[in-house]
């Protein structure tokens, strides 16, 4: 009996091992880096996560691209700079004829029209739909109309009701048809058909036009100083025409049963073959060769890329790590060339090593993102209970009662600069931040009693909503303690899991809620817009006509200097008077890059241009200072460690050695 068991087990063991050894091991790529979690999506219209955007920017290429050091726009698929009209409202992009997709097809202006339309179609639109709706003529109207009509098509009731609804949306075509009798199914089909026709008609009014195969004309609703930065972003890249094979069609119409323009979501996979579709085709320096779920993604140089000679590495392996500790061990062992995010329980220790110069390969760049808390500015009726934060004086008092320096240096400990600003100061060229207000408990107490809560008397329990994890718990505990100590407030912490946190936030069910904002483009408006009345991300529900007017004024201002002044005045309203939010610190990012890797620039948006990466493993590194990652050169923004004069010295030192 025992022998039988033993023999069975051993046989099986050998069998498993033998079977497993037949698997082909992956060849080593030229450059290997690790990502927290995995790549979520590669659909340009659905991008939201930094790691996805990073990859997308390297497999696709927009009309313009980012300079890897300064993030200034530079040439991409289109010749640079494009033709513009005097008023700055019309851009004519001439695509380079040698631009190719990874299957060899030429990149055409239609590919851009197709992609940009997906960005604002209700079936595919997500976070960055505003990149098109805010700027392009007719896009906002189209987007709103589509959302409205799609919602109506989805509503219950019989087809005639829907048709009646549809008529109310103001389409002349269906008004003519509304009276004629027909069966319900036929009526539904007719409604959809009319809707599809009307959709095409309205799309024709949007200011994105393929004038010919290599010319794209974009008309803007208002001048936009940073429009060429937007066109470099991964949301506005082109999409190959083969995606049309995967479009959901109802009854031969270009829309599906719900009236949406949607595609089989699997189109972004390199090995997806269906209905004649031959897998993902991209037009950037690299293409996706292999993608396994939450495991790894292999990129290979695009053989048809127009600037192929500039590519330093031919293959790139992106590993999704499960556990950050093991990944750091892997980096130390030499399995990885680069680790772009080291959020770990002991990251303050790693930060200390990086700052003390003990680890030359660890870097802590400051990034263009703010960590802050939102006050709920809505009145008690919305919240369902007494809300003291309707009063700006209370918001200001609570803001002044926080000692951010203490908090950042003792609790967060990741070299984050404490911040009194919504927009990280000194990081946007040409923009000078207004003066922020520092920790001032006496003034805070005075303001609070002026608002009718002397010594905190009469304040309801203050509820602080946050999502658990990532040190938020500890930060919240300190905030609560400071408010109790300096203002006499009673604070209740409500830590929630991320999804329920987001739910509560969207239902405005909070007094104070944790928030964060990363810049989408290098301009103050990327931050200021979230405080505009009615903005989709205005979680504090803040509304001040004077503030809105300043931003409107700035958007019409053609003079760059005056525009920045107006924006600075707008920020002053937020951080000196109204306090819809409580800024705590500016984000930093702890990363590790092996010394033999160069071409990864520590820019404040953490974009990495794979095209510029160079590997030089063979030579002794100590003799080659210029092969170090460019922690100083090219980054015009202050870097975590060292003052600017130190940086200057180091640069000249390096220059001397090179000579």
């Amino acid at each position: 009996m025992f022998r039988a068991l033993l023999v069975t087990c051993l046989t099986l063991l050998v069998a498993v091992a033998a079977w497993f050894s037949f698997g082909q091991p992956r060849p080593q790529a030229d450059f290997v880096y690790a990502n927290p979690a995995g790549i979520n999506t590669l659909d340009p219209a659905q991008l939201s996560w930094l790691q996805d955007i990073r990859v997308s920017l390297n497999i696709w290429e927009g009309l313009t691209t980012y300079d890897p050091q300064t993030l200034e726009p530079m040439e991409g698929v289109a010749n640079f700079p494009p033709e513009t009209t005097e008023d700055g409202l019309t851009y004519v992009f001439h695509l380079r004829p040698e631009a190719r997709w990874s299957n060899g097809d030429p990149v055409t202006s239609e590919d851009f029209v197709r992609a940009w339309r997906r960005v604002i179609e209700p079936g595919t639109a997500l976070d960055y739909a505003t990149f098109v709706t805010d700027f392009v003529v007719g896009a906002k109207e189209y987007y709103d109309w589509r959302n409205q009509t799609v919602a109506m098509l989805a509503e219950g009731g019989d087809a005639d009701d829907r048709e009646a609804n549809y008529v109310r949306t103001g389409s002349p075509r269906s008004q003519e048809r509304a009276g004629s009798p027909r069966s319900q199914a036929a009526s539904r089909a007719a409604v959809l058909r009319a809707h599809a026709d009307e959709t095409e008609r309205r799309w024709a009014e949007v200011g994105i036009k393929a004038t010919d195969t290599l010319t794209l004309t974009v008309r803007l609703r208002r001048p936009c100083a940073y429009f060429l930065s937007l066109t470099a972003f991964a949301t506005l890249v082109p999409i190959h025409e083969s995606i049309e094979l995967l479009r959901e069609r109802h009854d031969g119409l270009p829309i599906n049963e719900q009236g949406l323009v949607v595609y089989d979501p699997q189109w972004t996979k390199p090995d997806y073959h269906a209905h004649g579709y031959r897998g993902l085709v991209t037009n950037g320096p690299y293409f996706v060769k292999e993608w396994t779920f939450k495991d790894h993604m292999l990129l290979e140089a695009n053989p048809h890329y127009w600037d192929r000679a500039a590519l330093g590495v031919q293959t790139i392996d992106i590993i999704s790590y499960g556990d950050i500790n093991s990944t750091i061990m892997g980096y130390e062992q030499g399995d990885l060339d680069c680790l772009l995010d080291m959020t770990v329980a002991y990251d303050h220790e790693l930060t200390r090593l990086a700052q003390g110069g003990e680890r030359e390969d660890f870097h802590v760049p400051i990034v263009l993102g703010s960590y802050f808390y939102n006050y709920n500015c809505r009145d008690a009726e919305v919240l369902g209970r007494k809300n003291p934060f309707v009063d700006a004086r209370v918001r200001k008092a609570f803001s002044l009662a926080i000692d951010k320096k203490l908090l950042v240096e003792n609790v967060v400990r990741n070299a984050n600069p404490p911040s009194n600003h919504l927009i990280p100061p000194g990081m946007i060229p040409g923009y000078s931040s207004p003066a922020g207000l520092d920790f001032d408990p006496a003034e805070a107490r005075r303001l609070l009693s002026e608002a009718g809560y002397p010594g905190g008397a009469g304040l309801p329990p203050i509820e602080v909503l946050y999502n658990t994890g990532f040190k938020h718990d500890r930060v919240c505990q300190v905030l609560a303690r400071m408010w109790e100590q300096h203002l006499g407030a009673r604070v209740e912490l409500r830590g929630k899991e991320t999804k329920t946190f987001a739910d509560d936030k969207q239902k405005h069910n909070f007094m104070i809620a944790r928030a964060a904002w990363y810049a989408d483009y290098v301009d103050p408006t990327t931050f200021l817009d979230i405080c505009v009345t009615g903005n989709g991300n205005n979680d504090s529900g803040y509304s001040n006509p004077a503030y809105d007017e300043l931003l409107r004024h700035a958007s019409r201002e053609n003079d760059a200097v005056r525009r920045m002044e107006l924006l600075s005045r707008a920020e002053a309203i937020l951080i000196q008077e109204d306090f819809p939010n409580l800024p705590i610190y500016t984000y930093t990012n702890l990363m590790a890059i092996k010394p033999y890797v160069s071409g990864i620039y520590l820019n404040p948006r953490l974009h990495v241009s794979f095209k510029h990466i160079r590997i030089q493993k063979e030579l002794p590194i100590a003799d080659l200072p210029w092969t170090r990652p460019h922690r100083v050169q090219g980054c015009r923004f202050p870097i975590g460690a060292g003052s600017e004069s130190e940086i200057g010295n180091r640069q000249s030192e390096i220059a001397l050695q090179v000579r």
Partner: protein, 306 residues
């Protein structure tokens, strides 16, 4: 026998259906928007369109459609990772977990059973005491500790194993060992207790009195009976091991199924939660059924009763 088997099969399917219904109710009533991806807010219209697309506005329709699909092994799309269907994710992760779990169970049985028998025979000897200590460690130390220690020892200090990953032979031993430890400890204890029980029974004494060698009595006669509790434990244990362990997969970067149990719940990925739960339940029921059948083979009393 066949009737019994059919009865058990039917009961198993009914259990699976109940598990599905219960999970479905829990999943549908969990607060939060499953389509919320990041910190940013989604327009209400987009959420409505997505709800309609995934039939979240008609829960009962989703209930039937998912069930009908699952019967055909089509588990529908993942809510969080729209580029992947639940079926693709399972197809990628389940084989990994099965190989790893199978290996872990083999190690657990190969080490645990002899250790248990020897400690029962040499009761209170040095081997028994040492094993008891190791078993206590195996059961009480969580896998993220044992896993990390293994990784530090073999991968970092000795440098004879890779840090983690999947795809080569060298990737197998460490995670399999880490995964097997708690099972191994439990099997050791079960074997020891079972063996002690049997060793004091009449037929063992008879066997020894009739002049059989102690070795033959222990390994051939006593072991057969002592192994029965281990056998019934092997059913659920194998199901657990072969559907992956979140911790082992995280520590050793193994792309198995275990992580999806936790991630799908955190992401409120309704399709994926239902898929993982159904797969686990189905495997558990199947293994318990298999153990029951094996019981009939091993134990003549049961065979005759049937």
């Amino acid at each position: 026998m066949t009737v019994r088997l059919l009865k058990r099969l039917f009961a198993g399917l009914l259990t699976l259906l109940c598990i599905y219904a219960l999970t479905f109710l829990l999943v549908i009533n969990t607060p939060g928007n499953p389509f919320q991806m990041s910190d940013r807010n989604m327009p209400a219209e987009v959420i409505a369109a997505l709800n309609a697309r995934y039939h979240m506005d008609q829960p009962w329709r989703y209930f039937y459609e998912y069930l009908a699909g699952a019967i055909r092994l089509d588990f529908g799309p993942s809510f969080q990772h729209k580029e992947w269907t639940c079926g693709q994710i399972l197809a990628q992760a389940l084989p990994v977990s099965i190989v790893l779990g199978f290996l872990a169970m083999l190690i657990a049985v190969l080490v645990g059973v002899p250790a248990g028998v020897i400690s029962a025979v040499r009761r209170n000897g040095w081997f028994d005491v040492t094993t008891l200590g190791l078993v206590l460690i195996g059961i009480s130390l969580p896998t993220f500790v044992t896993g990390s220690v293994l990784l530090l020892t073999f991968a970092v200090w000795l440098g004879i194993a890779p840090i983690g990953g999947w795809g080569r032979m060298a990737h197998l031993p460490l995670p399999a060992l880490a995964l097997s430890l708690p099972f191994m400890a439990y099997i050791t204890r079960l074997t020891r207790v079972g063996m002690l029980d049997v060793l004091s029974s009449d037929f063992v004494r008879t066997g020894l009195a009739k002049g059989l060698t102690p070795r033959r009595v222990i390994w051939t006669h006593a072991f057969k009976v002592a192994f029965l509790p281990v056998l019934s434990y092997l059913g659920p244990a194998s199901a657990q091991a072969m559907t992956g362990s979140f911790v082992v997969e995280k520590v050793f970067s193994v792309p198995g199924l275990g992580q999806h149990f936790v991630d799908s719940a955190l992401n409120l990925d309704r399709g994926m939660i239902l898929s993982t739960v159904l797969v686990f339940a189905a495997i558990l029921i199947a293994f318990n059924l298999a153990v029951d059948l094996l019981y009939a083979v091993v134990d003549p009393r049961i065979r005759e009763a049937a």
